[in-house]
Amino acid sequence: MPPVLQPVIQIEDVKKIYKMGEVEVPALNGVSFQIMTGEMVAIIEPSGSGKSTLMNIIGCLDTPTSGKYILDGVDVSKLTDDQQAGIRNKKIGFVFQQFNLLARTPALDQVELPMVYAGAPDRRQRALAALESVGLKERVHHRPNELSGGQQQRVAIARALVTNPSIILADEPTGNLDSKSGAEIINIFKTLNRDRGLTVILVTHDPTIAAQAQRTIRVRDGLVVNNGN
C-alpha cells in the first residue's frame, strides 16, 4: 500500500431524486464518503434502491441530482452522456452480477471490447495478459455458453481490468455463483488488490462478502450510517 493515501473517489453530499410523474422519490439523501487508491472497500446496503443508485453514480452511468463526485481528480458529477462514456472507458472497470458478456463472442474479443472503443494499441496481447491474470489462459477462444458461471465472471473481470482503470466496481459479483466459484472470484479481487494495488469496490447486500473487504461502508435509507473508518 502506498505510504501517502490519495482519495480516488470523493463523494460529497450526493443526492439523487427520481421523479415518478408528480411524485419525487428520493434514493440518496446526501451521501458523503471517500475511497483511497489501493483500497478494497465493500458498500453494503441491505435492501432498497439506494444501492443500485449509488452504484450507477459511482460507475458514471448516472449523474447525481446534487452534490459532488470527484473520481481520480476529475469532477464527474455533471458530464454529458459521451463524456461519461469516456470516463467509464478509461477509469472504471465493471463487474456485474449477471456477468453481462456479449452473446456468441469469444472471451478474447470480450476482453478487447473496451480497448476497441478506446482505440488502444496492442489489444490482443493486453487481452491475453488480462485473461491469463484471471487464470483463463486456456479458455481464450471459448464463448460464454461454453464457460461455467465462475469462468464467465472471470472473463468479465479480465474485461474490467484490461484498461488499467482507476477503480473496479463490482455489483454483487458472486450473486449468480455457487459458494465455491464465489469464493474464487473474491480471491481474484483480493489478489488483484494486493499484488497490483487495484482499487476494488464491492457493492453487495451480503455481509459475508462484505467481510472480505478491508473496510465496509454501510448505507441505509439513502444515508451512510457507517463509513467503516
Binding site: G86, K90, N100
Partner: protein
C-alpha cells in the same frame, strides 16, 4: 472505433442471424434485380430503335412539303402538293448529295390467292435502294424503265412476302394491291424493326405507277407531286451546308421567300426516338424502384427488432465506454452492409435475368436488353442509400438508449 472495426462487428452480428439477415437482404435483392432488369429492357429498346434508325442510314435528309394555307386555315404538315419529281432532279446536282429518292406512299391491302395483308405502299424510283440502304434478296428492284413505263410491278417487303406466300416463290406471281393486278419482280431483304418502324411490312412500286394507278382514294399527291424527297448525303459534316443549298434551290424553284417545305435529318428523328425510349426507361426503373423502397422498409423493420433484441448488448457496450456515435455507426454499418450486399447480389441476378429474357420473341419483334454501367452504379448507390436512410432511425434509437435501462433490460 474505426471503420473496419464497425464492419467486423456488423458482420459478426449479421452472421449470427443468418436466416433473418438473408430474408432481409431478399427484399433489397428483389428490388435491385427488378431495377436492373427493367432498366436493361428499357435501354435495350432504346438501343434497338437507335440501331434501327441507324440501319436506314444517318446520312439521310427528308424533305417534305409544308402545310398549305387556304383562307388562313393551315392544313396538315406535308399535305401541300408543292414538292415535285423535278425538284428532286434539281437537288441531285447539289454537291455532297449522293442520291435523291422521291417517294409517295399510302396504305392499302395486298392479296394473293387466299392470303391478304395490310401495309404501306411506297412509290419509288431506283435511287430509293441506294438512298435508304435497302437490298433485294430475290429478284430485282424497281428499274428506271419500270418508272418510265408505269409498269404494274411490285417489290415485296420480307414481311409481306412471308404473309402472302409463306415459303412459296413470290417472284413472277401476280398479287392484287388495292384490287389491281401487280406482278412481283423482287423481294427485299428482311430489315426488322418494330411498330411504325417496321421496314418489312411494305411493298414498293414504281413512283409513276403509284401516282397514276393507285392515287384514287389514296393520299398520293396530285400530278407529279411527291410526299417525300429522301436525300442521301456524303456525311454528317456536310449536312448543314447541304440543307442550306437545298433550301436555296427550292426557294428559287418555288418562287417563295419563306420555305414551303421542311428538311428533317435522320439525327432529328433519332433524338426524338431516344427521348421517347428514355422516358420509357425511367418509367420502368421507377416502378421497379418502388420494390426497392419496400425492401428498405424491411430493413428498417428488422433493424428495429434487432435493436430491441440487443438492448442488453447495447447496454454492455455503453458500460465499457461506447459513445453514441459508436453505437450509431455499428447499426448503420449493419443496415448498409445488408442493403449493399443485397444490392450487389441483385445486380448479378438482374444482369442474369436480362440475359435470359434477351431474345425472347414478342410478336414480330424480340426483346433486347442492355445492362448499362451507369444503371449498375445507380443501383449500388441507391441500395447503399436505402440502407443508410432506413437504418438511421433504428440506429439512432439504439444510440439514444440509456445504459442503465439497457443493462437492466431482460
Amino acid at each position: 472505433m474505426n471503420f473496419m472495426e464497425s464492419v467486423r462487428i456488423a458482420m459478426r452480428s449479421l452472421s449470427a442471424n443468418k436466416l433473418r439477415s438473408s430474408l432481409t437482404m431478399l427484399g433489397i435483392i428483389i428490388g435491385v434485380t427488378a431495377v436492373i432488369a427493367m432498366l436493361s429492357i428499357g435501354r435495350g429498346a432504346q438501343a434497338a430503335i437507335t440501331n434501327q434508325i441507324n440501319s436506314i442510314g444517318t446520312n439521310l435528309l427528308y424533305i417534305r412539303p409544308g402545310a398549305p394555307v387556304q383562307n388562313g386555315v393551315r392544313a396538315a404538315e406535308g399535305s401541300a402538293a408543292t414538292l415535285t419529281m423535278e425538284d428532286g432532279t434539281a437537288i441531285s446536282s447539289v454537291s455532297n448529295v449522293v442520291a435523291v429518292a422521291p417517294e409517295v406512299d399510302s396504305f392499302g391491302q395486298m392479296a394473293y390467292m387466299g392470303n391478304n395483308t395490310n401495309g404501306r405502299i411506297v412509290g419509288v424510283t431506283p435511287d430509293y435502294l441506294n438512298a435508304l440502304n435497302g437490298s433485294v434478296a430475290d429478284g430485282d428492284f424497281v428499274s428506271s424503265s419500270n418508272v418510265t413505263a408505269r409498269s404494274a410491278v411490285a417489290v415485296l417487303g420480307a414481311g409481306v412476302a412471308q404473309t402472302l406466300f409463306d415459303t412459296g416463290e413470290p417472284v413472277g406471281q401476280s398479287i392484287r394491291i388495292n384490287g389491281q393486278q401487280f406482278r412481283v419482280i423482287g423481294v427485299m431483304t428482311a430489315q426488322g424493326g418494330t411498330g411504325f418502324l417496321n421496314q418489312d411490312n411494305q411493298v414498293f412500286v414504281p413512283i409513276t405507277t403509284a401516282m397514276s394507278r393507285l392515287s384514287r382514294g389514296g393520299r398520293f399527291g396530285a400530278g407529279n407531286s411527291v410526299q417525300v424527297l429522301n436525300v442521301k448525303i456524303t456525311g454528317p459534316s456536310a449536312q448543314t451546308q447541304v440543307i442550306q443549298d437545298i433550301s436555296q434551290i427550292l426557294d428559287q424553284r418555288h418562287h417563295v421567300v419563306q420555305d414551303d417545305f421542311t428538311i428533317q435529318s435522320q439525327q432529328d428523328i433519332l433524338n426524338t426516338a431516344s427521348q421517347v425510349t428514355g422516358t420509357l426507361t425511367i418509367f420502368l426503373g421507377g416502378v421497379a424502384a418502388i420494390s426497392l423502397i419496400v425492401g428498405g422498409i424491411g430493413i428498417m423493420n428488422i433493424m428495429l427488432v434487432s435493436v430491441t433484441e440487443r438492448t442488453r448488448e447495447i447496454g454492455i457496450r455503453k458500460a465499457v465506454g461506447a459513445r453514441k456515435r459508436d453505437i450509431l455507426a455499428q447499426f448503420l454499418t449493419e443496415a448498409t452492409i445488408l442493403s449493399l450486399s443485397g444490392g450487389i447480389i441483385g445486380i448479378i441476378l438482374g444482369a442474369l435475368i436480362a440475359r435470359l429474357i434477351s431474345g425472347i420473341q414478342l410478336g414480330s419483334s424480340s426483346i433486347s436488353t442492355v445492362v448499362d454501367p451507369d444503371a449498375v452504379i445507380l443501383a449500388v448507390l441507391f441500395s447503399a442509400g436505402v440502407g443508410l436512410f432506413f437504418g438511421s432511425y433504428p440506429a439512432s434509437r439504439a444510440a439514444g438508449l440509456h445504459p442503465i435501462d439497457a443493462l437492466r433490460y431482460e
